[in-house]
């Protein structure tokens, strides 16, 4: 039902809101003019820089650094994309990035929901300490644990593998725990009490009652985890040494030159790295945007 408010397709499908033409429609459109204005302007601000970058990515080095600049590449140097393709192992980087982000999202969802559930609904010694610890570790800058973490992962034999980038997410992230706990706190107790009277054990209550009700929060967390892992620069830089293990951002950066910046190539590579994730978004947005919106994240 709430989908109707934001999803035009749902509105079309909905029997109570047939598409009417005529004066009513006009008035309604006029009423929405400010919203359209905001959205169109916003879209321009969001997309224009990418278009300008597209132009830059097709310039020669000399034209790229030219002042005052030419807006359009001349000649259009498509070979930049070809060169990126030849210099880097793009498919490998993409695969690695997808593995890292995919595994991290799945892991973070499962484990954060479990721990968040435990903190919101269960009683066990040290629960409060755990909550404070989760909040606390969220606040300590990660830069500072890099050296000890490096030593740790080295002792696991994990250097130059994707594991240091994934493993933390399979052990529940602080932000995930915090988000899921808040969500579960907002779900009325009546449901699970009804379920436990029916003889369900806590795991069954969690799976059947709580998880379905937490879908919006799970979608939110999923997107957040994807964002953080997909764009991560520092940790992959530290842990990954072989090109066959690079993730996309590291692969893009590997083109940066010390003396000749290769800026045109790096821009091309940066845009190339965007295409797959945008495709994923275009396909998946219906599902997860609806997921996020089907009910609220209640505090």
């Amino acid at each position: 039902m709430p989908d109707v408010l934001t999803d035009p397709d749902a509105a079309a499908r909905h029997p109570e809101t047939p598409r009417r033409r005529g004066r009513g429609n006009l008035r309604r459109t006029a009423r929405k003019a400010p919203a359209y204005l905001v959205l169109v302007l916003g879209t321009a601000v969001m997309v224009l820089p990418f278009l300008a970058s597209l132009g830059n990515s097709l310039k020669s080095y000399a034209q790229y650094i030219k002042v005052p600049p030419d807006w359009l590449p001349d000649p259009v140097q498509w070979s930049n994309y070809q060169e990126v393709w030849e210099r880097t192992d793009f498919v490998t980087y993409l695969t690695n990035s997808l593995i890292v982000s995919g595994a991290a999202v799945v892991g973070a969802l499962i484990t954060s929901a479990m721990v968040g559930h435990a903190l919101a609904r269960m009683h066990f010694p040290g629960r409060d300490v755990l909550l404070v610890a989760a909040l606390g570790t969220m606040m300590l800058p990660t830069v500072i644990t890099i050296v000890p973490s490096f030593i740790l992962f080295k002792s696991f034999g994990w250097l130059d593998t994707l594991l240091p980038l994934i493993a933390p997410y399979w052990l529940a992230t602080p932000i995930g725990i915090f988000l899921m706990r808040q969500t579960f706190l907002g779900i009325p107790r009546d449901f699970e009490e009804a379920a436990s009277i029916d003889g369900a054990n806590p795991w069954q209550v969690f799976i059947r009652v709580h998880l379905p009700m937490a879908k919006p929060a799970l979608a939110t967390l999923g997107v957040f985890t994807f964002m953080t892992t997909w764009g991560a620069v520092l940790e992959p830089t530290i842990y990954l040494t072989s090109p066959e293990n690079f993730t996309l951002p590291i692969g893009v950066m590997s083109l940066q030159g010390q003396y000749v910046g290769n800026d045109n190539l790096v821009t091309a590579a940066a845009l190339m790295s965007l295409v797959p994730v945008l495709l994923v978004f275009l396909v998946a947005q219906r599902y997860f945007v609806r997921g996020v919106m089907s009910s609220g994240v209640k505090g």
Partner: protein, 455 residues
């Protein structure tokens, strides 16, 4: 295909000679060690250490750049000639390379041999992470190479063997000089000649007060091509006393900074800091022809060539005291102090190989660094190659009379302090006297923090 990356590998490799790493792993908690033991059994490590040595080799380059490609070809040729050595390459762009390297050193996992920015050799050496190469260098004829002396510490040790040299000279845009009808710079130029020519070369066609082309780039966050040689040319000094006493707060430094301020000022011929950055940054101005002259190291030829600039080079001009202030950075191969004897020997063989005539000639063709092999540097392959600039002899002369860039154990930190304060002056805010005094005391503080503690 990339799934293999998920599977944990074990640090121990066949032929990987491990020395005492206990220092490094001094504080790994007992539990962690236990986990490590279960995750990675060490059996099999020692068994294969018979005939081949695995050498991990690190360097910085952009993926697929000519330097990267040539380096990989040379490594292939090296291993072909040395079948008992396997080389594992760890390459990354400059910045990433060094942030990772420091973590690797802390974790006892740094490459056996790596290419170090010349100015950082002392930093790593002073903390004990580099192998002393003095004895090995003694086996070579020092006169065959450039830059060994510049790498010698006050105590006479050598921790880095030259890979390629850089020294700033005066780059000038020949087309602009011709158009303005000005004679090209020569070895007799003084800072006054420089200023006069730069003024003439500054073009403001539409008269809006913002020149379309500037005579020279003076302001640069990269001080090797800016205030460092300028202060020295005016007779000033940056550090003395084996590079442990800061001496920048002097009358000569003030004169040099004043010359720079006049150049940057309203009637001047050089873009100020903000303009420099917004025109593409100090290292792009010459390539995009926004300035007619820069102080530039040899590698600045690369972007200029990429952008089809017609240019040549001349010696740095002389200051009031007749000095040019030549300085050099000798990028060097260094060997990890933690590398086992076999790996260290293999690393040295790589270094010797790289210094040889054939590899040096190949490296020279890249146009990125002055060859450190004197025979190659004086050969036609370098001096009379087709690539610009024509006057490559200028670099060799400059290198011959160069001092080091004030290297010591805290080079990055203390020069950072100096640069910050000097930039504060050049950007028009801070008073020159105060800034130099502040620069001197804060930089000295950084140096003392290290040297006072270790002495």
């Amino acid at each position: 295909m990339a799934l293999s990356a998920i599977r944990p590998g074990c640090p121990g490799r066949p032929g990987y000679t491990r020395r005492h790493r206990t220092m490094r792993v001094w504080s790994v908690a007992a539990g962690v060690t236990l986990l490590a033991a279960t995750a990675c059994s060490s059996s099999g490590d020692e068994s294969a250490s018979s005939d081949t040595t695995t050498l991990t080799l690190g360097y910085y380059a952009a993926a697929g750049d000519p330097a990267d490609t040539t380096m990989r070809e040379l490594v292939d040729e090296f291993t072909a000639g040395n079948p008992d050595i396997d080389v594992e390459i760890q390459a990354a762009p400059y910045g990433d390379f060094f942030s990772r390297l420091r973590t690797q050193i802390a974790g006892g996992d740094a490459p056996d041999v790596w290419l170090s920015d010349g100015v950082l050799v002392d930093e790593f050496a002073a903390r004990g992470s580099l192998l002393d190469l003095s004895d090995r260098v003694a086996g070579l004829n020092e006169d065959d190479f450039h830059g060994i002396d510049l790498n010698r510490t006050p105590d006479g040790e050598i921790y880095g063997f030259p890979q390629g040299a850089q020294t700033p000279v005066l780059f000038y845009n020949t087309a602009m000089f011709e158009q303005a009808g000005i004679d090209p710079p020569d070895e007799n130029w003084t800072y006054d000649d420089l200023a006069a020519a730069a003024e003439q070369l500054t073009v403001d066609e539409n008269g809006d007060g913002t020149p379309e082309v500037y005579g020279m780039r003076v302001h640069s966050s990269g001080f090797t091509e800016s205030w460092w040689p300028m202060i020295k040319a005016f007779g000033g000094d940056i550090v003395t006393d084996d590079n442990t006493t800061v001496a920048v707060d002097s009358r000569e430094s003030r004169q040099a900074l004043q010359w720079m301020l006049d150049a940057i000022g309203d009637d001047g011929f050089a873009p100020d800091g903000v303009t420099t950055e917004s025109l593409g940054g100090p290292h792009q101005l010459f390539a995009n022809q926004m300035v007619a002259m820069i102080f530039g190291i040899y590698a600045r030829s690369l972007p200029a060539i990429s952008a089809d600039v017609e240019f040549d080079v001349a010696p740095l001009p002389t200051g009031p005291g007749g000095e040019r202030g030549n300085v050099a950075i000798v990028n060097s191969w260094v060997i990890n102090n933690e590398a086992g004897d076999e790996a260290a020997d293999a690393a040295w063989r790589w270094i010797e190989y790289f210094a040889g005539e054939e590899p040096q000639t190949r490296w020279a063709e890249l146009g990125e660094a002055i060859p450190i092999n004197r025979a190659v540097a004086e050969s036609d392959a370098f001096l009379n190659s087709d690539t610009a600039p024509a006057g490559k002899q200028v670099f060799l002369d400059a290198l011959e009379s160069s001092e080091d860039l004030g290297v010591n154990a805290v080079w990055a930190e203390y020069t950072g302090v100096l640069n910050e304060n000097i930039m504060a002056t050049l950007d028009g805010g801070a008073d020159v006297d105060t800034a130099l005094a502040e620069a001197q005391s804060k930089a000295q503080e950084a140096i003392d923090r290290f040297y006072a503690e270790s002495s």
